[in-house]
């Protein structure tokens, strides 16, 4: 039964009394003599029109007018049907689009259930209610902002899809707080409850609608390859969120071929590890799969990519320099080998050779020379630093002001060299491009200076090796879903082609900016191919996107979440929404009015005041 927002308006129904009275008054019938009423009597007997209401019943116009009055009075009374609704007014819907929402414990999935609930919220809204719809994925997305357009909201809702990543609740809360500010808002969290604690409080009323059933889930939370002594090593960690220990088979595939199958026993609410030592030396891609039948298949599979230039091989030709060894060894991805001076260089190529002390001749490749280049003999003693190329990126964050140098070699820089630090017209540090590679020269012995004791030294080492080592490949070989991946192109690369796990190709131009690939929403292996201007592929690298989130793998829903200082519990949708129907009533009244007009003019109901004689 509908209730009324403005029941007082029903009193206007009393207007029907004057209408009927006017009709009664008008119905004082005029006496008209006829030759005989015989036929009329028979006629009315046919119609059975002798009932007391005959005078009113036969009057269509009166009925229509009373109907119009009834409809108008009803619409003024604003009837509404109470509808079950979660929220109304200014609503902010936070739709959890994290990976755990893909769990299928609620058919077809938690995300679809949440979407359905969101749709229910929409249909329970009043005409003036507005909705802000935010999909909370790795990067929260505002699908609709303070809109009351139901069609737009429904469309936005239909297009929303769960991501493979985590939900960035903090960013989402910031968006929600912005949307809810100003007026009293209701914020509805449609989630399975994987919300971190210590979230900032939200303005307005927060309601939690929770999806999912407690269920056991096994998931891989880590898979990594590292360079061991006897080749690559793999490390895997899996967790079990169930209440019982689980035994699960783990399949490892190396570059697509089945490599090993292990059985892993994971205790309840615990984790277990596997370490694989005997991986192929030339391993590029490793895939691990849990043979588990659980609601969230997303985290049962993981990939790890080994960079082709997995580690940079750096050869240090030095009689022994602790500072240099430490500084080079600290660099990530650097495999440092040391060679005594005078010994022949090994045959396999190194990415960088660092000479601590002058060699007989400079080898091809990237070389960092500390000391005199071949041919230099004069010693410079006036070593007060006169010029520092502070604008040069190689000297960024390197402070030379407190560096003191005892003596340096007097060196003439080759043509085209970039002199970075100068003393009395002679370079202390310069870099140059050679046909065979890059060259950096520090013209003084580290032991003749307090540079190694400065904070500037490791920074300088990092800057220089960063410049000397051939760029290429990717910054990281593993990324989180949605996180941007920086690509380090080779100097000759013209563009970078990225193929997603779904096979979708992307092409990034290599310009002044470092190419960044951000379409990493899906889990899997991404292939990066660098292509030069002549369309020749230069090198191919891989990076992987894995969930690796214990919180997402733990799909057990939570009954309550803490937001600010408040514990928010699951809200059953009991709040009464109001579905007002007065626009329909008013439209019906308009329609009946049109019908009355038609009846008045076409139906021969006009001019009942006078009896007209037809000629």
């Amino acid at each position: 039964m509908p209730a009324f927002l403005n029941p007082a308006a029903l009193a206007l129904a009393a207007l029907s009394i004057p209408i009927i009275l006017l009709y009664m008054l008008k119905l004082r019938r005029q006496d008209v003599p006829v030759s005989s009423t015989l036929l009329w009597q028979r006629l009315l007997r046919d119609r059975q029109a002798n009932a007391p209401w005959q005078r009113l019943r036969s009057n269509l116009l009166l009925l229509l007018q009373l109907l119009i009055l009834a409809l108008l009075v009803l619409s003024l009374a604003r009837p509404f049907f109470p509808t079950p609704a979660i929220a109304s007014g200014n609503v902010v819907l936070l739709l959890d689009a994290s990976a755990s929402m893909q769990a299928s414990d609620v058919a077809p999935s938690r995300f679809d259930a949440a979407r359905r609930a969101a749709r229910d919220v929409l249909s329970g809204l009043g005409a003036n209610d507005t909705v802000t719809l935010i999909a909370v994925g790795p990067q929260p997305q505002v699908l609709a902002s303070a809109s009351s357009d139901r069609a737009l909201l429904r469309r936005a809702l239909d297009q929303a899809a769960p991501s493979d990543g985590i939900a960035n609740w903090e960013a989402a809360f910031a968006l929600a707080a912005a949307a809810a500010s100003g007026e009293s808002a209701q914020i509805v969290l449609l989630t399975d409850g994987a919300i971190p604690s210590r979230l900032p409080a939200l303005p307005g009323q927060v309601r939690l609608v929770q999806f999912g059933r407690p269920g056991d889930n096994l998931g891989i939370v880590a898979l990594a390859i590292r360079e061991g002594r006897s080749g690559p090593q793999a490390f895997l960690r899996a967790i079990n969120t169930g209440a019982a220990a689980a035994e699960v088979r783990v399949e490892f595939r190396a570059d697509g071929a089945l490599f090993d199958v292990r059985t892993l026993t994971i205790p309840a609410q615990g984790s277990a590890n596997i370490t694989l030592d005997d991986l192929p030396y030339n391993l590029t891609l490793l895939e691990a799969r849990l043979d588990a039948d659980d609601p969230l298949p997303l985290d049962d599979i993981a990939w790890a990519a080994r960079s082709a230039a997995g580690s940079r091989r750096v050869l240090l030709v030095s009689p022994g320099n602790l500072f240099l060894e430490r500084a080079l060894g600290m660099l990530p991805g650097v495999e440092l080998n040391r060679l005594a001076p005078g010994q022949p260089l090994p045959a396999d190529p190194y990415d960088l050779i660092v000479f601590d002390g002058a060699p007989a001749e400079l080898p091809a490749g990237n070389v960092w020379l500390i000391g005199a280049p071949p041919g230099a003999s004069a010693v410079l003693t006036d070593t007060a630093i006169t010029r520092v190329a502070v604008q040069d990126p190689l000297l960024r964050y390197v402070d030379w002001s407190s560096v003191h140098i005892l003596r340096a070699w007097q060196v003439e820089p080759p043509a085209g060299a970039r002199v970075l630090v100068e003393a009395a017209g002679h370079p202390l540090l310069y870099v140059a491009e050679r046909p065979g590679g890059r060259l950096a020269v520090l013209t003084f012995d580290l032991h003749d200076s307090d540079l190694p004791l400065q904070i500037a030294f490791p920074i300088l080492v990092a800057n220089l090796t960063g410049w000397l080592l051939p760029p290429g490949g990717v910054g990281e070989t593993a990324a989180r879903p949605g996180a941007p991946v920086t690509i380090q192109p080779a100097p000759e690369a013209d563009r970078v082609a990225v193929t997603t796990p779904a096979g979708q190709p992307f092409t990034l131009p290599v310009g002044e900016n470092i190419p960044v690939f951000a379409e990493t929403n899906r889990l899997g292996v991404y292939q990066i191919t660098q292509i030069d201007a002549d369309n020749n592929p230069l090198r191919t690298d891989y990076f992987t996107v894995n969930l690796f989130d214990a919180a997402e793998s733990d799909i057990a829903p939570r009954e309550s979440v803490w937001i600010g200082q408040t514990e928010v519990r699951t809200t059953p949708p009991e709040r009464a929404g109001q579905l007002e129907i007065w626009p329909w009533l008013a439209a019906a009244a308009l329609g009946v009015l049109a019908g009355e007009w038609w009846a008045f003019h076409e139906g021969g109901w006009g001019s009942t005041q006078n009896v007209k004689r037809r000629t």
């Binding site: 005029q30 028979r42 009315l44």
Partner: protein
Amino acid sequence: MLLEPAFLVKLESLALAAHRPRAGQMQGERRSTKRGTSVEFADYRDYARGDDLRRVDWNIYARLERPYVKLFEEEEDLAVHVLLDGSGSMDWGDGEGETRGQGEGETRRQGNKEETNKWLYARRLAAALGVIALNGGDRLTITALSHSPSAIPHPQFAARGRGHTLRMLQWLAGLPAGGTTDLNASLRAYALQGSRAGLLLLLSDLFSPGGYLDGLTALAARGHEIAILHLLSPDEIEPPLEGDLRLLDVETGEPQEVSIDGSLRDLYRRRLASWQDEIRAACRARDARYIPLITDTPLEQAVLMELRQQGVVK
């Protein structure tokens, strides 16, 4: 004058048509059921003792040696009964000012110059028929059925021979209409009167609360050859009424409340048509002729065409 002289001349050539020969009372121009003295041969029959020897056909006797009597047609007069329904409902329709002053006279006259008054029309029709009957030497009886049939004898005019034409016309011109007529009772009474059976023409609107069928049956049983001339005025065919009205019956004064709209008018038309069909069927069952006439039909056309088509005059 009820009839114009030119029309009277046209009526000279007409005669009332009776389809059944019947015995008359006086020598006339109608074939009789009796055998008689005219020159038209009718039949032979065996001679019987006492027959007039002058009627024996001697030629046959010579040939067959048996006496046969030759019969001839007898021509006698026809009794023509004209019954005028003089009830109040007949005094209706636009036309010559009538006695009923109910204040609605101006509405009844407006816009229509034609005289569609049923009573006037009925009297003019009766006059025309009477002239034809008198011209044909038939026995004419005109009776006005009005008022209470038992209390007052109906005004009646009876004559034979064209010498009475003027008197008949004067009598008709002074004939009033009014009151209530129980058509059934009046017709039954007329049937029982014992007057000679003949051609009976009933001029009425048949708006009789008591009905007319029993009377019609009684008349048919009496042996009359009946023709009903059903007179209706145009506003009875198409009532020019609209809206919420109280209809007053001019005959009975009985009120009837009615709200008239397009659909009800349609219903009225259908009801009228079915009523006429009822009458036509009832007439056919009693071997009577039914001739509906609308009073806006010119009298000449009614007599010279409609009645002739229906075989009432020839």
